[in-house]
């Protein structure tokens, strides 16, 4: 790999990358829209501007390949903008290939190594598009300049800068502009006329001019330039640039230096304005454009070059200086957004998490002291302080969380391209609709959701949508519609992937699962439609007759679901044969701090995320019904399947005494009767067999009070029997140590206010476990 060198410092490159990323992202997101919305002027203008800016900035750091490619793309955009070219699918393909090239070239700036991407086909294709569209492809470096080919609108003046003559002759100013310069001078600042000559045959005049104006605006205030920045953008440039620039006296050196280092600059001159030089001498007024402007009845045409320049620059010269001043002000205004390294945001989250834990601890301590000491001034003071700390922590937490919230747009924006490419590969027609991309969620979630969504989209295109002819035969429009939407629902974000394709047939899914030996015929017969549809989440299941390179990359829907559950989310399916399918993914807004219900099991506290909790209930053991072989309770006329959370978590296997832990130390004991029954007993019979406690659970005394947490995942509800309810609290989720591997059924761990480590139950995955076990039973 060839090493690359760029014409910029490391700091400059960082800035360059940040800017280039914005432009490339814009191109990436918007070029694909050209196909349909090419008549949308602001869209086309935005794309053109992005390509143009990128061209300028890549040339600035000496990235010629990128400049060349963006130039080619810009030419196409230019023709679209002028209405000379209609972006067909093929043209958009070429442009997208160009965007891919840009991404590769952008990488070069990071790695400083030349990538092996061959751009010549891309550039050639784009050039063909321009030429076939009747346009002329502007010269690029390496191509011989067309004979006599001045850029359209290029300044007519080819000679070197006339560094003689009065300043006003060299660069005429309107009376109000003169007043502005005078005012600046009177305020104590300096004003100069800067004249820059470029190599007349430079192929980069527009870029150099752009670069000059850009760089100069960093060292001084540009009061007036020729060409103006609008003209530079429109490539109406010549080999000469003039600027009235203001600044402190010390700025002179910086201004000259800035101008001199720009490539292709052959000559610069910097002349200060003085108050005297701005008072037009009678001679100048007589000969110059001053008279031409006021002498309507003057018989002589203006004989001097300034008049020639004047005609070309009339638009800019008639621009009131107030507006020009405003433009300068806008450009130099301090940006009010601060870019922060995401790592810093993450680092900020950790202490806030610790603070939340300590707040909980403080509150618990205050409570404890109050119980022990009764009314006491110190206790009151502590209570007050702890409440105050609590409030501040809440505010801080909320604010930090808000900073971390990002619109889901950054993820969604990748998908139009993906959908388009996939549909093209599979010969399907797709209208892709995105809704709700402004919906915000925590960074930690955003980073991890794109894979699951990509799989759902692939699945929708590959398996969901029919081929155009099939759709026509079914009386549907040839183009299938895939809708990706996002919205907030309480503390969750819901992401829906919906297609209007063939839908899923439960009978076929069952048959397929049986033939693949995923389930037995007997199990299949017992399955209801919902369970049948969820078969697609079983490992090794794929509804396509053959594996395509689109969906069947060894990653099945089982992995999709596992990944979503890892984010404490869940996925549900709605489907109707012939009408389509909708996948709903529900995720918590954040993965860092959540509200949880604490329950006691076997003398330990476990956390259940509140997001899954419907309500908590107290039941007599005798109210438990047995339906078929499963236990259930009746809740307001509905049957709620009942499962022991102990059994579900396979707790009995864990009931060996923790090293050195006295059995009585379990803090749940103070929580009253419910906590001690079963719980402490479990702690004591640990020594012998694991099966014993299972038995104990099975033969529970009939009159025993039992506690049930009713949970819901999607439309599945279940009652989880626990030993005791401890309370609701805010918890900071910590991941399980890598050393423990991927333990199913556990969403993570947390440290409670009393310092104990508690396991956070992964309710969706536990419920799936129940469903699968009951099917098998």
């Amino acid at each position: 790999m060839a090493q690359m060198q760029f014409d910029a410092t490391e700091d400059d490159i960082k800035v360059w990358l940040a800017e280039a990323d914005e432009q490339i992202e814009l191109l990436q997101n918007d070029v694909i829209r050209l196909e349909k919305d090419y008549s949308d002027e602001s869209l086309v203008q935005g794309i053109f501007r992005a390509a143009h800016t990128l061209k300028g900035s890549s040339a600035m750091i000496g990235h010629t390949r990128m400049a060349e490619l963006t130039h080619a793309m810009e030419s196409v955009f230019g023709m679209v903008r002028e209405g000379k070219l209609t972006p067909t699918t093929e043209i958009v393909d070429s442009l997208l290939a160009g965007v891919d090239g840009l991404n590769a070239l952008r990488e070069e700036v990071v790695t400083k190594e030349q990538s092996d991407v061959d751009l010549s086909p891309s550039v050639a294709a784009l050039r063909d598009i321009v030429e076939q569209g009747g346009g002329t492809f502007a010269r690029m470096p390496g191509q011989p300049p067309a004979a006599g080919g001045q850029e359209p609108g290029a300044g007519g003046q080819a000679g070197p800068a006339p560094t003689t003559g009065s300043l006003l002759e060299r660069f005429p100013l309107e009376p109000d502009e003169i007043e502005a310069v005078k005012a600046t001078l009177e305020s104590g600042a300096m004003v100069w006329l800067l004249e820059v000559d470029f190599q007349p045959d430079s192929l980069w005049l527009a870029v150099r001019s752009f670069q000059s104006l850009n760089d100069l605006s960093n060292v001084g205030e540009l009061l007036k330039t020729k060409p103006t920045s609008e003209e530079v953008e429109a490539e109406k440039v010549g080999p000469k640039l003039q600027a009235v620039i203001a600044g402190a006296a010390e700025a002179a050196e910086a201004i000259t230096k800035t101008a001199v280092v720009i490539e292709d600059v052959v000559n610069t001159s910097l002349t200060p304005y003085t108050l005297e030089s701005l008072s037009p001498s009678p001679a100048a007024a007589g000969e110059g454009r001053g008279e031409g402007a006021q002498g309507e009845d003057h018989p002589h045409p203006s004989p001097l070059p300034p008049a020639g320049e004047g005609t070309e620059l009339i638009p800019s010269q008639t621009k009131p200086p107030a507006e020009a001043g405003q433009r300068v002000a806008t450009a130099s205004r301090v940006v009010q957004n601060v870019r922060v390294d995401v790592e810093r945001l993450d680092n900020l989250m950790n202490p806030v998490g610790e603070l939340v834990i300590d707040r909980n601890r403080l509150q618990q301590l205050a409570l404890q002291l109050e119980t022990e000491l009764g009314a006491h001034d110190a206790v009151d003071a502590l209570n007050e302080t702890s409440q105050h700390v609590g409030r501040i922590t809440d505010e801080l937490q909320e604010e930090v969380m808000r900073i971390r919230m990002q619109p889901i747009e950054s993820v969604f924006n990748k998908f139009p391209r993906l959908v388009r490419d996939l549909a093209g590969k599979l010969g399907k027609k797709v209208d892709f609709i995105i809704e709700g991309k402004e919906t915000e969620l925590d960074r930690s979630v955003i980073e991890k959701i794109d894979d699951p969504i990509i799989h759902l989209l692939r699945n929708a295109i590959d398996h969901g949508l029919e081929m155009p002819e099939e759709r026509r035969a079914a009386g549907k429009p040839e183009s299938g519609t895939i809708k990706l939407s996002a919205w907030h629902e309480e503390n969750h974000i819901v992401i829906a992937v919906q297609d209007d394709g063939r839908g899923m047939d439960p009978a076929k899914l069952k048959a397929s699962a049986v033939s693949k030996k995923i389930i037995t015929q007997e199990v299949a017969d017992r399955m209801d439609d919902r369970a049948a549809v969820e078969l697609i989440f079983a490992a090794g299941f794929s509804t396509a007759a053959k594996t395509t390179d689109v969906s069947g990359r060894g990653v099945g829907m089982d992995i999709v679901r596992a990944n979503i559950e890892k984010l404490s989310g869940f996925v549900t399916i709605e489907t109707a044969v012939g009408r389509g399918t909708r996948f709903l993914v529900k995720l918590p807004l954040t993965l860092a701090i959540i509200r949880a219900l604490l329950v006691a099991l076997a003398g330990r506290k476990f956390a259940i995320p509140m997001a899954t909790v419907m309500e908590t209930l107290r039941f007599d053991a005798q109210d438990v019904r047995t339906i078929k072989t499963h236990e259930a309770i009746q809740l307001r006329g509905r049957i709620l399947p009942l499962v022991s959370l102990r059994d579900l978590l396979r707790l009995p296997a864990l009931l060996y005494p923790a090293p050195g832990e006295p059995a009585s130390a379990s803090p749940e004991d103070e929580d009253g009767d419910a906590a001690s029954n079963g719980a402490s007993q479990g702690m004591r019979d640990v020594g012998d067999a694991e099966g014993d406690s299972m038995m104990e659970m099975g033969n529970r005394p009939r009159r025993q009070k039992m506690f049930v947490v009713a949970v819901r995942v999607g439309d599945r509800q279940m009652g989880l029997q626990v030993d005791a309810l401890v309370g609701e609290t805010e918890i900071v989720i910590k991941p399980l140590s890598r050393f423990l591997g991927d333990v199913r059924g556990i969403a993570g761990v947390t440290i409670l206010g009393d310092g104990q480590v508690a396991i956070i139950c992964d309710i969706p995955s536990l419920i799936n476990r129940v469903v699968q076990e009951q099917l098998l039973a």
């Binding site: 610790e354 995923i518 330990r604 423990l740």
Partner: protein
């Protein structure tokens, strides 16, 4: 050269003597209650809260298939750190910290101990005894197959 001398923490486990390079030892703490992790590999005793950090505790005897021993007064947890991972190891007793001269250290392969040779980095000769210096990276290595066994749940998984 001083750098060639190795400082090791010597400890007892099922009547055998082992050691760990002191550079890997974060701290030594008393045995404390753990929070068991349902579904985790059997040799994971559970989790403890070490000043706000959740640390898994490993029973090396279970990991190595040695004879179990009850927790006694001299039992300790050696907290081991390898790069960013941190882990507690339950041992029967921590005896001493000693400095071993390079000429008393040999590669592991030539000596037979109660442990698989892969867990042992070197063998040090200490006061006439042979002490196996463990390889913390290897102990920390998470084994997929072991975990999968424990995790086999329900049909289709």
């Amino acid at each position: 050269m001083a750098v060639d001398f190795q400082q090791v923490v010597v400890f007892e486990l099922s009547a055998e003597t082992y050691a760990l390079d002191i550079l890997h030892v974060h701290e030594i703490i008393r045995v404390q209650p753990v929070t068991p992790v349902p579904g985790a590999p059997e040799y994971i005793e559970g989790l403890i809260n070490l000043r706000g950090r959740v640390v898994p505790i490993v029973d090396l005897r279970k990991r190595f298939g040695l004879r179990a021993r009850p927790i006694g007064d001299r039992s300790r947890i050696i907290v081991v750190q390898v790069s960013d991972d941190i882990l507690g190891i339950v041992v029967d007793a921590v005896s001493e910290v000693i400095t071993v001269a390079p000429e008393f250290v040999e590669p592991a392969a030539r000596v037979v101990t109660g442990l698989d040779a892969e867990y042992i980095r070197t063998i040090a000769k200490v006061e006439g005894h042979l002490v196996a210096v463990l390889n913390p990276e290897k102990i920390l290595e998470y084994s997929d197959s072991e975990a999968d066994e424990v995790l086999m749940l329900g049909p289709g998984e």
